[in-house]
Symmetry: C2
Subunit: 157 residues, 2 copies
């Protein structure tokens, strides 16, 4: 099961290494991680998506996260109502498949074309994770040259 | 000076801890980091923004990144042409200032309102970093309850 955990941390060097070590020490692979500044420049916000089979181990990790001096708060969104978004940038080879696919996707409003020339086309999509997965499925008809994702961020309702 | 570095890495546990340790061992604070999956499920893409005063130390870090077994490629966007985007979610207190501010910002096309009720309003903005900073300045008139950023991602032209 995928869990979404958010931690507010002091904006200092070493914090990211300490947080990520807590997960890797238990063999937990982080699916996605987004770390950015908050309204307070001394505080960063980490949104971590982790695939945890054993909820007890995840509870341990959350407790240990809370014990780190640099961690201010830990919030597990798993059983809460929240809004999520993820951003992707994709560079597609500009062939006929790409043209067709883009026309459909732009009409649906799911993607935006940022740049287009005779060789490639760069598009962005910003949506919920499951919609991003749908967009990626549609894109399989076209040739993906490069694909970059931010990882999910979330905000409680 | 802010540098944007992108690394393709094996999607295994421990990689994030090793990469972030390389930076923290030199006292380098990562401004933002976004880690997400790529088209290949065995490979993740990390986009790292770091404030490096000393370019020589950054060169060392890049070399050491390249030496890590789990790192496939390292790309420094600093002197290259690229497209960048960052995503933010903001929860604002629903007062009169918020109303006014939103009307202007939505008209400009810089933000989208995701949810609105009598207590709060959740908005998203997806743009280049400097535009995100402008949006955040405008938002100062309203009361920000929560703010989550993905960190920057980039794709070469």
């Amino acid at each position: 099961m995928k869990h979404t955990i958010q931690a507010l941390v002091e904006n200092r060097f070493g914090v990211l290494a300490r947080v990520s070590s807590l997960f890797s020490a238990r063999g937990y692979n982080i699916t996605s991680l987004a770390v950015g500044e908050t309204a307070d420049p001394t505080v960063s916000c980490m949104t971590i998506v982790v695939n945890a089979e054993d909820e007890r181990i995840l509870e341990q990790i959350k407790k240990q996260l809370n014990k780190l001096i640099d961690v201010i708060t830990v919030n597990d969104f798993t059983h809460k109502e929240y809004i999520e978004r993820e951003l992707i940038l994709i560079k597609l080879s500009a062939d006929r498949n790409c043209e067709e696919m883009l026309t459909t996707a732009v009409k649906k409003g799911s993607i935006r074309v940022i740049e287009k020339n005779k060789n490639f086309c760069i598009i962005e999509a910003c949506s919920e994770r499951h919609k991003i997965e749908e967009i990626l499925k549609e894109l399989k008809k076209a040739e993906v040259i490069e694909l970059v994702r931010t990882g999910k961020i979330a905000i409680g309702k």
